[in-house]
């Protein structure tokens, strides 16, 4: 018996009981400070222009986002003027349908406060933005926000 009773000597195990707590803390931090990504980016992450007169967009649920930039998929060509609506590359003609769809998700009394945020790459052309703007005007989505990062250059 004594053979089994023999106490093994060695390093005592490090108590890792508080590790989950730390990780949970991190987890909660991320849960609180972030929002769910709704769409998969089909364009390369737009390099937003910077501006000083930026305003924070409030009411995330009332914001519909249009991305403009270079498509990740090489079959769309190298230009920076691809428009992404929802999850796919679209053309400006699809914008009204997109807006109407977004509008149907929002209660009627909130609809006038809906904002369209245009996240466009610095190198996109004004022409593309204008096309989008004209289509937005057609469906009376008049509040827009040109996404920009705060900064001075």
């Amino acid at each position: 018996m004594s053979k089994f009773r023999k106490k093994k000597k060695g390093m005592p195990a490090v108590n890792t009981a508080s590790l989950p707590d730390i990780v949970f803390m991190l987890l909660f931090f991320f849960m609180v400070t972030t929002t769910m990504r709704e769409t998969e980016l089909q364009v390369e992450n737009p390099r937003l222009p910077s501006a000083t007169e930026v305003k924070k967009l409030e009411h995330k649920s009332l914001v519909s986002t249009i991305y403009v930039g270079k498509a990740k998929d090489p079959k769309y060509g190298p230009s920076y003027n691809k428009i992404q609506l929802n999850d796919k590359i679209a053309t400006a003609d699809d914008v009204p349908a997109f807006i109407i769809n977004e509008r149907s998700k929002v209660p009627e009394n909130q609809q006038p406060f809906m904002t369209t945020s245009i996240k466009a790459d610095r190198e996109s052309n004004v022409g593309t933005i204008t096309d989008i703007r004209l289509k937005l005007r057609d469906v009376n989505a008049l509040k827009i926000s040109y996404s920009a990062s705060k900064g001075d250059n």
Binding site: V23, T34, N125, G127, S147
Partner: protein, 209 residues
Amino acid sequence: MARRENPEINAGSMADIAFLLLIFFLVTTTMNVDSGISKKLSEKPPPDYVPPIIKEKNIFEVNLNFKNELQVEGERMEIKDLKDAAMAFIDNGGGEGKIEDGVKTGPCDYCKGERSESSSDHPNKAIISVLSDRGTEYGVYLKVQNELLRAYSELRNRLSKERYGVSFDELEESYKDDRNNLALKKKVEDIKNAYPQIISDAEPTSSGN
């Protein structure tokens, strides 16, 4: 019976589970705060709409060509000078303001501009028209818009400091926190009406393509 010690529960895998959750959140969420330059588009004009005739001197023409070159009132300009030029134009106050609901606004008594005959009559008549090319780079276009907005906010801040002792930014900020404060609302609207932002986007040209 001898007291038996409670065996410790092995919590080693708990951290793994928490990490799994953490990584899931890291991947599926975004953190960026959405901010941008807000604009209100004009409504679609009816087909038989005739635009009002505006005196040439009340329009501040800003042109951007497809090479991202800036032209203001017929002369080339660097973007860094745009703000001051716009401020001089808006704040000129060379004449009578527009007639609102039958009431004349009269001449601009808070303007500090040159009161030149050839520039704008009144801030509420001053229109900034931005004409860009389809090929203009969006970043440059936004920079121009930003400079124009800066001109307005600087003027508003100045007037607000003069009238109420605080800058317009602070005034707006405190109004945001206290939406029901009518006195504050009146102040904000007062400044806004004194320097209304009238920036119009003309249909872009397409010479560069």
